[in-house]
Amino acid sequence: MEGALKAIDAPYVEARFEESWYTTIQFRGKELDQVTTSVERGGIIRGFDGERYATIVYNDPKRLKSTKVLRLENKKAVKGLPPIKVEILVEKKRDPREVSIDEKIELLRSYNDIIIKTEGITTTQSYYYDHFRRRYYLNTEGRDIIEEVAYCGIMLSGIAKDGMNVQSYGKTFGHQEGFESLKGKEELAEEVAAKTLELIRAERVESGIYDCIIDPELAGVFIHEAFGHLAEADHLYENPRLLKIMAIGERIGCERLSCVDDPTLAHKRGSYRFDDEGVEGKKTYLIKEGRISSYLHSRETATKLGVEPTGNGRAINYNFAPIVRMSNTYILPGSASKEELFEKLDRGLYVCGSRGGQTALEDFIFAARIGYLIENGRITRPVREVILSGNIFQTLRNIVEVGNDLVVQGGVGGCGKDGQAPLPVGTGGPHLLIKGVVIGGR
């Protein structure tokens, strides 16, 4: 590792080397469709001169030795952190490599069987994924960090077909809590089967403007997609006009709305101790009582904006340089119960689950798994193709009530940005009541 730091001649150089073990298992219908195991070793070296980066990615250290030294010509001083030497290891009980492949296949098969044996289900897509990573980090400041992370999770999907109409419903779960935490989820497999059948009978939602109650899973994806990405300072630091729109202290929502990013939550999907720049992660308030409180930073963006880094410089693996990313991002719970939220909505939509989302800074779109019409204060019937979109500033202002039932969601998959996907993140929130959401449908 010390030798790797010499591959680039710059005022600041860091090297990351990773060893990763992966397992994936997939059932499609009744059949076992994929079982793969993988062992990856690779590194990345990055030099910085205060303005520009030079980066080398490699698998074979011998090829690195034959590459000529890259030089950055500016020699600006880079603000640094003190030296540190630390080792963070995963306990054996959370290491998925300790579990046999047969046990993993059988657990997934048991959930898959529940779905495929349900009458009306055409096929399934059930997926298991685990990943153990040991990361060695070293930089010219003398920060020497070894950190292990172990994750395992499952995604269950049912698919039903009726002529040209094909519907699917999925549920994903899993954090850094070990293989045992994936057991006993039969009720989720039953839910997947039942909701798939509800969807195949459901009509498309009529497009229009709806007042919506969104469930905790969707609330988490909403805050991640809609506000979290906007608070990533790499979009902001070179753009004074955008910084003005996103000014710290600016009112952005009601006083009941607060949101944090927190990699220090114990063993969640997006948790870590140090980011990929050797900076310790910490809990950061993005929105506090309705006002913008902080941005998320890498070393570079923090230096440019004259603040301390927040420990959000992350990369999906050694193939990529770190960029500003979220960890576990969630809306803090309010005081209203779910029932109280429903009492406030006479006509609208109850929107549940997430198929994912996307943003173009202030514009966002995200897809729910299923929706239910609320008429005269009661849930009446399911609807499909519920896709929510809007302008984030307008939509945050339209959150009128915050529930008290926070859930932080993990699962297979993650966040995508600048070609780096999926990055493990946690997303969460309680039930939310939002006025005037644009829903695309028929």
């Binding site: 499609r28 219908g29 059949e31 076992l32 469709d33 994929q34 079982v35 793969t36 195991t37 993988s38 062992v39 990856e40 070793r41 690779g42 303005e51 520009r52 980066y53 030079a54 980066t55 990615v57 490699y58 698998n59 074979d60 090829r63 492949i101 096929t123 698919i159 040209m164 109409n165 094909v166 519907q167 497009s207 229009g208 403007i209 790499d234 070179e238 753009n239 006009r241 955008l242 729109i245 340089a321 994912g356 989302g357 996307q358 943003t359 173009a360 800074l361 202030e362 514009d363 966002f364 779109i365 995200f366 897809a367 193709e385 896709i387 979109s389 644009v438 829903i439 695309g440 449908g441």
Partner: protein, 437 residues
């Protein structure tokens, strides 16, 4: 390394085996907010090992052959299969190289990015431009127990540019892509003209009412919507019974103006190569001929399971088993002249970019996207940019309603797409007031 790995697998006594090796040597330059930001070199190499014993597959992958050799004794085939790995054979030559691209240095790539950025900020000083210029050499090697030993080298290069403009406290994005792989002299004029056209109308914001409008979709936006088409033509979806195209082979399911190819041999396209991820020759397939659905795409496994042959669509990285995937999607261009067509539109939406393609129910071909960049056209004139609007539909229904197709295709790397004019699509907006007259 490949020899040692192959020998070790041979000794392990599997009935069939295959070694897939992927080597990448890539240089890239990134610009951020109009300035050079990063240079990057990637030197990657990975190995995928597929073995078959008693009609069951086992798979292992990694970056270090020694670790894979050590792991071979624990590799236990579990997935049922009936495939036979292909024998050694000769392949068609495909244009995958340009000497000019081979000669591009860091300075050349930096020069392309700088040229585009300098010209863009000259026409619009408030633009903040990010750009990425990439040149990648990829070498793929496949060996198997049936005597196949094949290799190809390919070279691709591209430029991606994205401009950000803030107007009236709204953030606007304009982006474009240029495939540089053929080595034709780089010309930034097209990117410039495209940005000029968009910038001319960007600052005028127009609201529309929800409803159905004739719609002209430009290639970059069409590309996002087409992500709903790929799952339907996959042999996996046929095998598992969830493709909406089951039972439709030979039927007209799209407008007769639409012909769609999957062309794995297209010169300098990102998805081109002599053979696919399991050594089967690639070819040009006609998926839809004048609206008529002709065929699904298969890899070896889905081919056998559907009583068909692989179509050369076994896609993979070294980290995964093959599965059916499109090589290069090509929609045949038509006769439409963009300027003339726009001038004949009474009231329509011009869709330039969308957000959220692939997030709807893609199995059924449904999409529901937010308009990222779109304009209202009235009486042949672009009136201004429309905001806060969603567009929803179904890819099969949408392509049934095509009334005109552009007379050129845009090269998007692994797609060649024209613009299309549709008789109508549904738009939803928060606007309740009548639109301006």
């Amino acid at each position: 390394m490949v020899d040692r790995l192959t020998d070790a697998i041979q000794r392990a006594g599997f009935e069939q085996f295959e070694v897939f090796v992927e080597e990448i040597d890539e240089d890239s330059i990134r610009f951020r907010a109009n300035r050079f930001h990063q240079s990057k070199r990637r030197l990657r190499c990975g190995y995928g090992v597929r073995v078959i014993r008693s009609r069951r597959i086992g798979f292992l992958s990694g970056t270090d052959p020694d670790l894979l050799i050590d792991a071979l004794p624990t590799l236990r085939p579990t997935i049922e299969t009936k495939i036979s790995l292909p024998p050694g054979q000769s392949y068609r030559q495909v244009e995958l190289h340009s000497d000019r691209v081979r000669g591009y240095t860091h300075q050349t790539l930096t020069g392309f990015g700088s040229e585009v950025i300098d010209r863009l900020i000259e026409i619009e000083p408030e633009l903040k431009v990010d750009a990425k210029v990439v040149r990648q050499r990829k070498q793929i090697t496949i060996r198997n127990s049936n005597g196949l030993s094949a290799q190809y080298d390919k070279l691709i290069a591209y430029l991606w540019v994205e401009g950000q403009l803030i107007h009236n406290n709204h953030i606007h994005y304009i982006y474009d892509f240029s495939n540089l792989s053929s080595g034709r002299p780089f010309n930034s004029d097209q990117i410039l003209q495209y940005f000029q056209m968009v910038l001319k109308y960007l600052r005028r914001e127009i609201k529309i009412r929800s409803g159905r409008y004739p719609t002209l979709i430009l290639p970059l936006a069409l590309s996002s919507l087409l992500s709903s088409l790929a799952p339907g033509v996959s042999g996996k979806a046929l095998e598992k019974g969830y493709s909406p195209l089951i039972g439709k082979v030979g039927e007209r399911v799209l407008s007769e103006k639409i012909t769609i190819y999957d062309d794995g041999l297209m010169p300098h396209a990102f998805g081109s190569s002599p053979f696919d991820g399991e050594g089967v020759p690639k070819r040009r397939l006609t998926l839809f001929d004048r609206g008529r659905f002709l065929q699904f795409i298969f890899d070896l496994e889905t081919g056998v399971r559907n009583n068909a042959q692989s179509t050369g669509n076994g896609q993979r990285r070294y980290t995964s088993l093959p599965s059916p995937g499109l090589n290069n999607l090509h929609i045949l261009s038509g006769k439409g002249d963009l300027g003339k067509t726009l001038s004949n539109l009474k009231e329509a939406i011009l869709v330039v970019g969308v957000v959220g393609g692939g997030h709807g129910n893609i199995y059924a071909g449904d999409f529901s996207v937010k308009l990222d960049l779109a304009f209202l056209i009235r009486n042949g004139e672009i009136l201004g940019r429309i905001t806060d609007v969603m567009m929803a539909g179904n890819i099969y229904e949408m392509l049934k309603g095509v009334v005109e197709i552009g007379n050129y295709t845009k090269d998007l790397g692994n797609e060649r797409l024209p613009w299309i004019l549709l008789e109508g699509l549904n738009f939803a907006t928060a606007q309740t007031d009548p639109p301006p007259r």
